[in-house]
Amino acid sequence: MKKVLSTTLGILTAVGGFVDIGDLVASSATGARFGMALAWAVILGLIGIVVFADMAGRVAALSHRAVFDLIRERLGPRVGLANLLASTFVNFLTLMAEIGGIALAIELATSVNYLLWIPLCALAIWLIVWRVKFETMERVFGLAGLALLISVLAVFQLHPDWNHLTSQAIHAAKPHSESWPSYWYWAISLFASAVTPYEVFFFSSGGIEEHWTKEDLSEEQANVFVGFPIGALLALALMALTAIVLMPLQIQVDHLSQVTQPVSLALGKLGIAALIFGFVACTAGAALEAAFSSGYAVAQYFGWPWGKLQPPRQAPRFHLVVMVATFLGMALLLTGIDPIKVTEYSLIFSAAALPLTYLPILMIASDPEYMHEQVNGRIRNFMGTVFLFIVSLAAVAAIPLMILTKGGA
């Protein structure tokens, strides 16, 4: 049990990348339209985030410095500021979308309009950041998010044609009813959301909140190699569910309520109850991750005290940033902005933030001044370079594809 508990930071971080509100719908929507053809994008995203989260975790454990603190040090104030603005905008849009996501999930359980839940959800998220210890928050939401494993059970329960699914995934062929731009748009949005920068901010800062040192590298590794694969597994399960149930019926997914239908078919009311609990836990976990990351990025860039290592009074500006981001997000949501659409727009800004986040991490992970004897080996550097190239390619292609397909239409 101790082993599982010690990997909840990894699980919680992975939730933000693979099963936040945007991914719950995106994974389901791609399953309904492309079957398992875009599974490779989730797998590629998994490898990418494992490579970079592991590096960021090691940097945090060895140098006790978090990612955004090092980004400014490596890129200087001007380019660092550009990354800060892009990342903060992504963090804010994501935080807003996740608060909306929690409300949408609660609406599914209560059929009371999601707008009414938003103030309560925003207050709950802020209160958790304000009062709850980091380890406690991480344990609770990391484990609660595992309720989404019900979707894996549902896939087996539907007794699918496994050969058909695996051949779809391997051939990764574009269905004739879909256009190439929308194929690549959805592939890039699945990949980009799996490697969103705030996962790396949260994971490395979380490592410092947990006082990681050289001795904790095995725990760091466990977090990476347990947490992120679980996240990817959940995303692939949701994709498989809609590929099996909704694709034959030509149902396109653009509401959270449609995502529950395959599990309802497979496991009935109990399945839905567990799934909705998983939705609430994952969107809340992702909201906390985005809220913390908003504070982490700004405070670490300016060198202010940050995090839950001390009471709020001793990290006032960090908490101020989180507070403003949370309640500004709430206010915008109450104007009726569609939370699911918001995560798609954040893709544009992560295009700029992606390369400017992962280049400094790659360099610092090989710098003996920070890593002492734990500098990157040849394999980590090779994988890091390959994925830095893929991430930059995705970043360049994201915006034109979004315009071309008018948001994946």
Partner: protein, 131 residues
């Protein structure tokens, strides 16, 4: 009604009609799946009514945005009239369905199955003519 501007040639108008038909048919199928789930008591009432509300608002949203586009020619007029008739019937069925769900009249949901299946059939036929 605010006109979003005429689609100059038949081509774009036809593809707009085709996409609208596809979207509305997707919502009809969603509603049919919800009815089947409700019949087998595999979905709780709250989630069911949200599913049916989303289907109703989704379909009428697609219908409204289709109506805002002015048909550029007589052939397009005929197409618009044909599709519009189908979409209005769908809107009627889906909003009745959503209301039944909110009033917890689960037994009455099944009566909407047949009309929705016919409408889905007709929409699919229209789609085949278009593409």
């Amino acid at each position: 009604m605010v006109h979003a501007g005429p689609a100059r040639t038949l081509g774009p108008y036809q593809s707009k009609a085709d996409r609208t038909a596809e979207t509305v048919d997707s919502y009809v199928q969603t509603a049919l799946l919800s009815i089947e789930l409700a019949d087998n008591t595999r979905v709780n009432l709250n989630t069911l009514s949200v599913q049916l509300d989303d289907a109703a608002t989704g379909a009428s949203g697609a219908h409204n945005s289709f109506d805002t586009v002015e048909p550029p020619s007589e052939i397009a007029d005929q197409l618009q009239e044909q599709l519009d008739r189908l979409l209005s019937q769908v809107d009627g069925q889906l909003s009745a369905l959503a209301t039944d769900a909110h009033r917890h009249h689960i037994s009455e949901l099944a009566q909407h199955r047949q009309p929705l299946q016919d409408l889905s059939q007709q929409i699919k036929q229209l789609e085949n003519q278009l593409s």
